[in-house]
């Protein structure tokens, strides 16, 4: 009843189709990576739908709910953007450092230090409470950037000078940063024994769209703040640094082949320290933007792991500064709307599936997939 295949006599019946991977010998066209990424996200959503169905939910309704809860109205979209703002800045911080193959796992700590630096301006106080926002906010931005940069300088210096593994130092310094903040909110700036500082004065808040509701009624209740603009500007700046500046050329060269960089006469020591400082500064700016745009006081739980999500965002964006923005918005939406479905659990699983699919889809950029009929190839 079965026909024996001519090419493989004596062998048991095998599935007539076979999948073959061939390494790509030429670069795929420019649009291809984008297509693959979207394909991967679509695939992940289908798979995630399966998870929801298994958990007893209705995938279509759940996705519709997520979409509504994060993009459904101006109000919720604004909330999504608020969540995306620190992710953009932290994602850029990681993307810049990773470009030079400096594994800065310490964006979380630099984020806390940035928040601390900005708060210090109000709480020490460096400026009187009634200072004009035109002075207050730039000074806080500078303080946040500076504090983050210092937190980046330490591992950068240790790496450049003594070749201390930056993964370990940046990771450990995260804990120090949290403890540092805790010391101040428990002991120094505590408000009536609570583990938080007092509320910042209004002129030290980043302006929000809602602040202009009187002039533009549509803005009523929109919490998007100036931090988003800072994030988008930062993306342009990082792009310019990486692709249009001498320094960025050096970063890319060192990142791709440090031996060749040394051969070309580059100063790797100086660049290591500088890149870690700028990376820390961007993460610090994220902390500053979160504290002055959303929280408005220094307290303990200011980050649900933004610094670590930044690592994922940098990878998913393939270290491309502009791609960091949409990826951050996607993650902002998942953080925000996921909570509506289940506080943890399923939304985290979907996040994980998206991450794995996107990273796995990289394979398709390097290999071609071919489905061939057995015995017909030669």
């Amino acid at each position: 009843m079965t026909e024996q295949s001519v090419s493989s006599p004596g062998r048991a019946w095998r599935f007539p189709l076979t999948v073959r991977f061939e390494p790509r010998l030429v670069e795929p066209p420019r649009w291809f990576p984008l297509l693959v990424s979207f394909g991967a996200i679509f695939f992940a959503l289908v798979l995630g739908g399966g998870v929801i169905a298994l958990a007893g939910g209705d995938p279509v309704r759940s996705y519709a709910h997520i979409a509504r809860a994060s993009f459904g109205s101006l109000g919720v979209f604004s909330d999504t953007l608020v969540k995306a703002t620190p992710l953009i800045l932290v994602g850029l911080a990681c993307a810049l450092a990773f470009r030079m193959r400096l594994w800065n796992i310490g964006a979380e700590g630099q984020f806390f230090l940035g928040a601390f630096g900005a708060s210090a301006v109000v709480l020490i106080p460096l400026l009187p409470e009634n200072t004009s926002p035109w002075i207050f906010i730039p000074v806080m931005i500078l303080a946040g950037i500076l504090a983050g940069a210092i937190w980046g300088f330490i591992p950068g210096f240790l790496k450049a000078r003594y070749n201390v593994n930056e993964i370990i130092t940046t990771l450990m310094m995260n804990y120090i940063a949290v403890a540092w903040n805790n010391f101040f909110i428990y002991a120094v700036w505590t408000e009536g024994g609570f583990q938080m500082s007092h509320m910042f004065p209004r002129n030290a808040w980043l302006p929000r769209l809602a602040d202009y509701a009187k002039e533009v009624p549509v803005f009523r209740g929109l919490t998007v703040h100036l931090g988003l603009v800072l994030g988008i500007i930062a993306a342009f700046v990082v792009w310019f640094i990486l692709y249009r500046s001498r320094w960025g050329y050096e970063i890319r060269l060192i990142g791709d082949n440090p031996t060749a960089a040394r051969y070309a006469g580059l100063n790797i020591t100086r660049n290591t320290i500088l890149v870690m400082m700028v990376s820390g500064a961007l993460a610090g700016l994220a902390g500053m933007s979160e504290i002055t745009g959303v929280v408005h006081r220094l307290q303990g739980s200011i980050s649900p792991g933004y610094g670590f999500t930044g690592i994922i965002i940098a990878w998913l964006s393939k270290l491309n500064p502009f791609a960091v923005i949409p990826v951050s918005v996607l993650f902002g939406a998942l953080i925000l709307a996921g909570r509506e479905i289940q506080p943890s659990g399923v939304p985290k699983m979907i996040q994980g599936i998206i991450l794995v699919s996107l990273i796995a889809s990289d394979f398709l950029l390097r290999y071609r997939l071919r489905i061939v009929l057995r015995g017909r190839e030669v």
């Binding site: 890319r252 791709d256 031996t259 051969y263 070309a264 030669v378």
Partner: protein
């Protein structure tokens, strides 16, 4: 099965064919890597596959070894048609390939590496038994390696023997060697050739991929020449051919083995090295008082067996290694123990020995690789910014001038072949208009046509009054290009010669100082 063999034109004509490849076509996107190629291998012969880089040699053999599948054509093993879908199928059919880059686990022993992936020791591993088997196999084929040694302790030559043993242990009757001599020192090449002859006498058949004419003439019985994916000669007996003929078949035109070098009076001293001392990576002395000078408009060769301090000397001169004594002067200015950028600013170009690890950044574009030495200077640098329009323009000019074959200058250089990569490096280094050029093994691994191109460029630099220090292990290259030759041995200069014979240089390379040679000659004329 053997009766269908066409009678061979030359020796061993009646030995049965173990491999027949007919009309093999293999396409890669945009490239026809094998265009209707025929190839056959007789039992007990060494058949060389000769061709320039990118001619399709490795592709053809990867088809035979089951790594690639051909779009068209048939393969017959011992007269039976086969269709391999993986290297495993090929090994089962008795075909084993030793790749250029070894596939060994460094932390495991020789025996463990050989057993890796086999079905036979299932649960219980009786290592003593297998050690014995491996040792016996090694003895039989003249492949002496300690079966208990860990692979990382072995030299490159020994690792290659392990690869061969691996294939023999799996019962390979046909061995494909992909450019086996590229990684070996001259003495090791001799050893490899002896082994290959033993294997052939034991009834194995060998396919020897190479682009070195000398080796092919020495070791092979027959040769098939590929050019741009097509066979320009199939199964030619090496006895009936000559180096010149093979070179012509390979590159499609007569190759000038004699370079056209005009007499020239050297100018002022550009590079002066005085009593240089330096350590190697292991902290052992590598340079022990090296002194030499290079003048404008001359090519000075540095001859020596690999590992006698040439690499360290080049690194100290180019600022990539610190020295512990002595000085390096470039145009009278001290540059030793200074950052590499100082030498570059002073007009030093450097063609490094290692093109992929040192000379280029693989994932960056051709443009990015070409501006490595001049991105700090206008017009490409505009203050802190880089002008990419200027950079692209610059890259396109060099691409045309130096014949770099790429679809566009945005292509990452990891896509480039060895010869093209070397053109990128040469283009970059020459475009800086260097006063001094340090060229380390500039033609290693290149095919005949590319070597000729490199030689021509170096001579053009000499005519443009550059000072050139040429460090090479190819004696012929040194003799034909250099105005003077220094010979280095264990970190010391054995002497300086002009128009010397190979004998004299050979003696110096093995540790006899020139004065001693001259003295002995004057005693016994």
């Amino acid at each position: 099965m053997a009766k269908e063999n066409p009678p061979g034109p030359e020796s061993q004509g009646n030995a049965p064919l173990v491999v027949e490849m007919r009309g093999i076509v293999k396409k890669f996107p945009g490239v026809l890597a094998n265009d209707n190629v025929d190839f056959d291998l007789r039992k007990g012969e060494i058949h060389a596959l000769l061709g320039e880089n990118g001619a399709g040699k490795s592709t053809l053999m990867n088809v035979l070894a089951g790594l690639y599948r051909a779009e068209a054509g048939t393969i017959l093993i011992n007269g039976k048609p086969v269709s391999f879908s993986s290297p495993r199928d090929a090994i089962l059919a008795g075909i084993g390939m030793v790749h250029q880059h070894f596939m060994l686990v460094p932390s495991q022993t020789v025996t463990e590496n050989i057993l890796l992936g086999l079905d036979s020791p299932r649960f219980h591993l009786n290592l003593a038994k297998y050690h014995r088997e491996v040792a016996e196999l090694g003895e039989r084929f003249g492949l002496s390696v300690d079966p208990k040694a860990k692979v990382w302790q072995l030299s490159v030559g020994e690792q290659q023997r392990v690869e061969l043993l691996k294939m023999l242990y799996r019962g390979a009757q046909v061995l494909i060697m992909d450019e086996p001599t590229a990684v070996l020192a001259p003495q090791e090449i001799e050893g490899l050739f002896a082994t290959l002859r033993v294997m052939v006498s034991e009834g194995k058949s060998i396919i020897f991929i190479s682009h070195k004419l000398n080796e092919v003439m020495t070791i092979a019985d027959r040769v098939t020449v590929l050019r741009k994916g097509k066979a320009t000669a199939s199964g030619l007996a090496t006895e009936d051919t000559s180096r010149q003929e093979l070179a012509r078949l390979m590159v499609g035109r007569e190759v000038l083995f004699q370079v056209d070098k005009r007499p020239k009076t050297p100018g002022e001293v550009i590079l002066e090295v005085q009593d240089l001392h330096a350590d190697n990576d292991k902290g052992l002395p590598a340079l022990r008082g090296v002194s030499l000078e290079v003048r404008a408009g001359e090519i000075v060769g540095l001859a020596g067996v690999a590992g006698n301090g040439q690499r360290e000397l080049a690194q100290v001169i180019t600022g990539l290694r610190t020295c512990i004594g002595g000085t390096v002067l470039l145009k009278g200015e001290q540059i030793d123990n200074c950052p590499a950028s100082k030498a570059i600013e002073q007009g030093m170009a450097h063609i490094p020995e290692d093109r992929t690890q040192v000379g280029t950044a693989p994932n960056l574009s051709v443009t990015d690789n070409l501006i490595m030495k001049n991105y700090r200077k206008p017009p490409i640098a505009q203050g802190m910014a880089l002008d990419y329009r200027e950079a692209t323009h610059f890259a396109n000019e060099l691409k045309d001038e130096f014949d770099i074959i790429v679809p566009n200058v945005e292509t990452p250089v990891r896509m480039l072949s060895g010869g093209n990569l070397q053109r990128v490096i040469l283009a970059r280094e020459i475009s800086t208009g260097p006063a001094l050029m340090i060229a380390v093994q500039p033609t290693r691994g290149l095919d005949v046509g590319a070597i000729e191109g490199v030689h021509r460029l170096l001579l053009a630099q000499r005519d443009a009054d550059s000072a050139i220090l040429l460090i090479s292990e190819e004696l012929e290259e040194l003799l034909s290009l250099s105005d003077r030759i220094y010979v280095i041995y264990e970190g010391m200069i054995m002497g300086e010669v002009r128009d010397a014979d190979i004998d004299t240089i050979g003696q110096m390379m093995t540790g006899t100082p020139l004065e001693q040679i001259n003295r002995e000659r004057s005693v016994t004329p």
